[in-house]
Amino acid sequence: MKLLLAAFLLTGAAWTAGNDKYEVWSIDQSKLARQDLRRNRVYLGWA
């Protein structure tokens, strides 16, 4: 019974740890916008 409990806890811990490995990606859209303003500014409309 103790072995089963330990296996369950270990599996759960591994699942949690694995799930935690992630990245958050975002983009500052201002930088390339300056190129855009110089080179080919176009009407954007809604975005």
Partner: protein
């Protein structure tokens, strides 16, 4: 492009150090070499289901860039087509869950395009035979796709694909909606809705079981304020070209056509229990119970972390404990500034509480891009969470 370790954002967002990938160097040169034009204004970011590739949409130049998500290196860059309008833009490109294609909303080109994809071999092909010209096409009911009375401005904004990878819900800037079979060649309309049924400027989509949530928003000079949410049914045989217009009818979950409202994007909480909808004009998040489609809370984001956060996109952490939101800057580059101007550009970190019904604003991971005149130019918009496993 900023990439944070998720655990860092959960625990120490203010001091977390992101990896920065300068798209203005490698990726820009890569696209210029392949397409003869510089990519401009990276607006949206998505990833394929396997999380092996990032897909970046350039709204000003009409490029779609594919990056190896692990190495951050560009592997393909495609410039979309010039439409009958004489313009091209990519507002959002969205990968099908089965990883066979990416649907592309060519906004001012008023084209709906498809890039056929094979991620393992880095093969990405713009399929010209698949596209639909939303400015000039005729619906299966024999109606003009674009007309003043039904759908006055068919710039596609956001493609949302259901779990079958067949049905693409395509929001339109001027109002109305098309549901498009994204698998057929050419792609074909299987349901049409007019502007009275689905209002303008929608962008969010989220599937919870057998329904697809879609919204309408404000954010334009022509439609200053709006926050609507609809639920469309999903299931075998629901959508057919033989259906009359506006069929099947969506359920209107809420409609708030009031000052400062601007619903933009959304995310589901753990187990799809609640749908969160960001209102960037009013700085709060609607919480909708997906069981009965009732608004059960509005999470106020204004406080000590930010006086005007302007939440745009939302994304849930893998274990559901945190929600992230992109926050706009003081000089927004997209959407009308009356709703898209914020004071704290970056990514907001929200601790999810009460099983998804509420949240606490924990911190903001800031972005900054101060120009030579001392003006803050940073403007966060795109957002995605990538599993590293």
């Amino acid at each position: 492009m900023y990439i944070w370790d998720g655990h860092d954002l959960e625990n120490k967002a203010k001091t977390a150090i992101p990896e920065k990938v300068d798209l203005g160097v490698g990726a820009a040169a890569f696209c210029l070499a392949l397409t003869g034009a510089n990519p401009a204004r990276p607006h949206m970011l998505t990833m394929n289901a396997s999380n092996t590739h990032a897909i970046i949409s350039f709204v000003a130049s009409g490029h779609v860039l594919f990056l190896n998500a692990k190495t951050r290196q560009p592997v393909a860059c495609i410039r979309t087509s010039v439409g009958s309008t004489g313009a091209r833009q990519v507002h959002q490109s969205f990968p099908s869950p089965d990883e066979t294609y990416v649907a592309v909303a060519n906004q001012n080109g008023k084209l709906y395009e498809r890039i056929n994809t094979h991620y393992p071999s880095n093969t990405f092909v713009l399929d010209h035979a698949a596209r639909i010209d939303l400015a000039l096409c005729i619906t299966p009911n024999g109606l003009a796709c674009q007309s003043l009375a039904l759908r006055p401005d068919n710039a596609p904004i956001c493609p949302i694909i259901d779990s079958s990878s067949v049905y693409n819900f395509v929001t339109l800037r001027g109002g109305g909606l098309f549901i498009i079979d994204g698998k057929s060649t050419p792609m074909r309309i299987v349901a049409e809705y007019d502007k009275a049924t689905v209002h303008p400027n929608g962008c969010l989509g989220a599937q919870a079981g057998n329904k697809m949530y879609i919204n309408s928003g404000g954010g334009t000079a022509a439609n200053l304020y709006e926050a609507d949410l609809y639920a469309f049914p999903l299931g075998p045989g629901v959508y057919s070209a033989a259906n009359p217009p506006n069929t099947p009818a969506p359920k209107v979950v809420f409609s708030e056509d009031v000052e400062h409202a601007d619903a933009h994007r959304a995310a589901l909480t753990r187990n799809n229990r609640y749908l969160w909808v960001a209102d960037r004009g009013r700085n709060f998040i609607f919480v909708v119970d997906t069981g009965n489609d009732q608004i059960v809370n509005r999470i106020n984001l204004v406080g000590t972390q930010s006086q005007d956060p302007t939440p745009d996109l939302l994304f849930l952490s893998p274990n559901g404990g945190h929600m992230f939101t992109s926050l706009r800057g003081p000089n927004p580059l997209t959407a009308d500034p009356h709703v898209s101007t914020g004071t704290t550009p970056g990514v907001g970190v929200l601790k999810v509480t009460e099983g998804g019904r509420n949240a606490k604003v924990e911190s903001i991971a800031a972005m900054t891009n101060v120009d030579a005149g001392g003006v803050e130019r940073a403007d966060a918009h795109a957002l995605w969470v990538r599993l590293k496993n």
